[in-house]
């Protein structure tokens, strides 16, 4: 299963969302039957990345089964909508960053899984600025990493 097998969209996903905004989107897995998709879990999540321990939160979770009494066709477009919370807001920090995304976890036969993320930006927190070190202290060579 590749990115081409999943259609995951967020309406106006390029803009910066405000807390309380309605996040609207949809997903579809056109070849779901052929790929042996058993279940799809769509979640609106935030997570941190950085140098230390990671944190993670689920704002909203929707599950879709292709089997059982609540079975739906995952090949058809499934819409979702949720009101975004007040926080945590997206943050591009130095020691830690806060990411928001719509995450689609696709569970296939024999327990195989694939995860697809659609990142979006919540809030207007300014990007962190690194304070320039003194050249007298930093004697290491100029590098691109």
């Amino acid at each position: 299963m590749t990115h081409d097998d999943v259609l995951l969209t967020v309406v106006d996903g390029d803009r910066q969302f405000e807390a309380g905004d309605l996040l609207v989107g949809s997903f579809a897995i056109p070849r779901a039957d052929e790929l042996g998709v058993k279940r799809a879990e769509l979640s609106i999540v935030w997570y941190t990345s950085g140098k230390g321990d990671e944190d993670f939160g689920v704002h909203k979770l929707f599950t879709y089964n292709s089997e059982g009494s609540d079975a739906v066709s995952l090949g058809r477009r499934r819409d979702f909508r949720t009101r975004l919370p007040a926080g945590p807001l997206s943050y591009d920090g130095v020691a830690v960053k806060i990411h928001w995304c719509v995450r689609l976890r696709v569970i296939m036969t024999r327990g195989r899984q694939r995860v697809f993320d659609k990142p979006f930006w919540l809030g207007h927190v300014a990007r962190a600025q690194l304070v320039q070190e003194s050249p007298l202290i930093d004697d290491s060579p100029e590098l691109s990493i």
Binding site: G13, D14, V94, H99, F116, P119, S144, I145
Partner: protein
């Protein structure tokens, strides 16, 4: 579009299990696994800080899962409360389950002695110094040794490209500064990446990196 780039040296990419285990000249995963089975799943993985012991354990755990082998890991790097919980788990793990204690020397002396005495098999530990397995010997399954070559390969794996000469030089300086502790070197690279972001390095979008 506003995107938030992940630092490729962030802990989510460098923590044990996230990085692929890179075999060195004296340690391959198959060889370690062969020794594990040879010694009835009992032995020690020895090496200094930040040389890949936990990463090796993560790779071995994946192998155990593939083989559907009963396998339980106890990590002793989560503070005092974590150590107490880890001790309780270690002491209560059934004898037919392979118990892996990551950071064995952090257990109290008495707990270590009991584990070594009780578990004649199915006990794998990671440790910074050789553990005398009295009354039964504890075979050395692998020794993780830092090397500059390994450090470069890890940096390349994380960046998904070759390093320039300047970058290699920086890695070497950082590696030496931290006495071969690759984990500390990766922290240095994290900071360096942040200092230079938005300029001439390649960023990896969070979405792409996660997958």
């Amino acid at each position: 579009m506003m995107t938030l780039a992940c630092n490729p040296f962030a802990s989510r990419f460098t923590k044990p299990g996230a990085l692929d285990f890179l075999p060195s000249t004296n340690t391959s995963l198959d060889e370690v696994w062969a020794r594990i089975t040879e010694f009835s799943y009992r032995g020690q993985i020895v090496g200094p800080h930040g040389t890949g012991k936990s990463t090796l354990v993560a790779a071995l755990t994946r192998r155990a899962e593939q083989l559907q082998l009963p396998w339980s890991i106890v990590r002793l790097n989560t503070g005092r409360r974590g150590a107490e919980q880890a001790k309780a788990i270690a002491m209560n793990t059934p004898l037919d389950v392979v118990l892996v204690v990551d950071g064995f020397e952090q257990l109290p002396v008495l707990t270590r002695a009991r584990l070594l005495l009780w578990r004649s098999s199915h006990l794998i530990v990671t440790t910074h110094r050789f553990v005398c397995g009295f009354p039964r010997s504890l075979a050395v399954l692998a020794r993780t040794t830092p090397s500059y070559d390994l450090a470069i390969r890890i940096a390349q794996q994380l960046l998904r490209r070759s390093l320039t000469n300047e970058e290699s030089l920086y890695c070497m300086l950082s590696y030496d500064r931290h006495n071969g502790n690759i984990r500390e070197m990766l922290f240095d690279l994290y900071d360096r990446y942040e200092q230079n972001r938005g300029h001439n390095f390649r960023t990896i979008a969070a979405q792409e990196a996660y997958q």
